[in-house]
């Protein structure tokens, strides 16, 4: 089959590799119908040292079950399914406590930008979709694999509800879907910090009530001004850079929550009196999106929400290297792939 391999910063290739096969009785093999490029794929795309060996890529996919191990219950060959970007048994104590990304038998997909994927812990990972391969809902359904569930995780962890004022930092797909999620959870004041007009325009359509294009101290001052000096109860940080965390610290209200879902590209950060003094909570992490799929699916199926609007370009597998380039240059927000 064909798959995507990254050989270093800026060097993504599509290559022929052996088809995956069942390796454990809990595995499934899925033929990929839709996959995509993630904002987090851009981190190695910008920084990975050149390597002769290469690394396969991709963690978001939906597709058709082609083969099933004997221990996989609840699924059938031919089912159209969506996978969470992390696999999990969905039964262990960590899964029951809502941190499926820390499952005792779990891990992260990293071969999904391909024609087929081997799925460990298939019963706990794949969710059947009641639509056909030709459904116009596929882009929105694919966002359940990561970006929508991740934006939702940010909002849930920040306890967003109708009484909560919200700031979202970042106008990438996750930031925009954090806006959508905050709106779904009832927030009436949602300030989106982002400076790419085509993206913040979509953010407004998703529910943002204010857009702040300024960054750093200026951006903080603007949000403070919009909130009578107090900042917002919830700050959803969907970027992952230290500057974004510092911005979050600047706009959070005393007693509020900073919820991070952008993978931090830094280790140390300020957590002294500036965080502690106002009883601010710092939370978030890799989203246990499996926990949210059942909850989010109905509104996607009935068209109440259209998270798939974050895709603004579609390519075939051969177009994946161009897709990375377009996202890196911010010419595309998020690239959908039809293998």
């Amino acid at each position: 089959m064909r798959t995507t391999v990254m050989y270093g910063a800026g060097d993504v290739r599509v290559e022929e590799v052996p088809d995956p096969v069942l390796e454990a009785p809990t595995d499934a093999i899925v033929r990929v119908v839709r996959t995509c490029v993630c904002g987090s794929d851009l981190h190695p795309y910008r920084t990975m040292p050149a390597s002769g060996q290469g690394t396969r890529m991709g963690h978001e996919f939906l597709g058709v079950v082609e083969d099933l191990g004997p221990a996989v219950a609840g699924l059938n060959r031919g089912d159209l399914v969506v996978a969470s970007f992390a696999y999990q048994d969905n039964t262990c104590d960590f899964c029951r406590e809502g941190v499926q990304t820390s499952c005792r038998h779990g891990g992260f997909f990293n071969t999904a930008q391909a024609e087929f994927v081997r799925v460990p812990q298939a019963a706990g990972t794949l969710v059947p979709l009641p639509v056909g391969e030709d459904s116009p809902l596929l882009p929105s359904l694919l966002t359940l694999a990561d970006v929508y569930g991740t934006g939702y995780h940010a909002a849930k962890r920040a306890k967003v509800d109708p009484r909560t004022t919200v700031t979202v930092i970042g106008d990438g797909a996750v930031g925009l879907l954090a806006v959508l999620s905050a709106r779904q959870l009832g927030a009436e004041r949602i300030i989106l910090m982002g400076r790419h007009k085509s993206r913040t325009k979509l953010g407004v359509e998703f529910g943002a009530t204010d857009v702040v294009a300024e960054r750093g101290e200026e951006g903080v001052a603007r949000v403070r001004e919009l909130t009578g000096g107090d900042g917002t109860h919830a700050v959803l940080e969907a970027v992952g850079y230290r500057a974004a965390y510092e911005q979050a610290l600047g706009v959070v209200r005393a007693g509020g929550v900073i919820s991070r879902v952008g993978v931090p590209q830094y280790d140390d950060g300020p957590i002294g009196w500036g965080l502690f003094g106002g009883n601010v909570t710092l939370t978030g992490g890799p989203a246990p999106v499996r926990a949210y799929i059942d909850e989010l699916l109905p509104a996607v199926l009935d068209g109440t929400v259209e998270p798939g609007r974050v895709f603004d370009r579609t390519v075939g597998l051969d177009g994946v290297p161009d897709g990375y380039r377009a996202m890196d240059r911010r010419e595309a927000l998020k690239v959908l792939v039809r293998p």
Copy 2:
């Protein structure tokens, strides 16, 4: 009246100053019946640059209302009252959201190691006590002003309940009362990290099921060993040094909470993948103890709990400098003062 003044590291004096007077209609004047020295007072006691001017000290007290401004409702001259270590109106939006330490009209006491204290926002700050000045319960009631409420805040913020395993870092008064609080909230497994045997012995009487005397990597390894490698759901950090935070990070379970109530004596700390990867929440801050006094009072009054056992030495005002010295040398756990 006589009061405590700190002139620099190691230099605490008792001096004569004018009696406080009402300055605002919302003020009260309280004659101090009991006050004490706090672990947090030891930070300036160890680091304050010498100063000719001096700084008055103390934020924990109970006493008798001597005078009341015309706008203070619900209190009478002669009432025995306990104050929270921060004053607040207890009516503003921050107070209603449970962060009384961020009250719009609030602040922190810093003159309580004295004969009299002026209490701003008296109606929102002073809680009448249904006992006399000679009650043997006074030491326990005084802990409601700070250390007990602060330990309780750590446990509440960490969502301690009967299903929660708990680690408490620090065997000072707050750490020991965090143990007591976790037990009150139903925790059945409470690991106390501390190496002062007389203190950890009291911790065991308060409800600790395990004591780990090791610190740093050894201490982390020991807690991991005690928890099947997983760490505990809640980690209550009652020290305030970066090493204690790093220890917390080492013993917290995926999906768990690090709840800090020791005032951080550091600014930057590790908040990258080590915190984020396991969806660990970092919370805590200056405890809004006013929020907890009504909840904690009944069990103190009926003797179910005896948080006042953290006091192991009693002095008069003239003995305050010796009290600081004894706590600094760890000869005393917490020093009670009868002015």
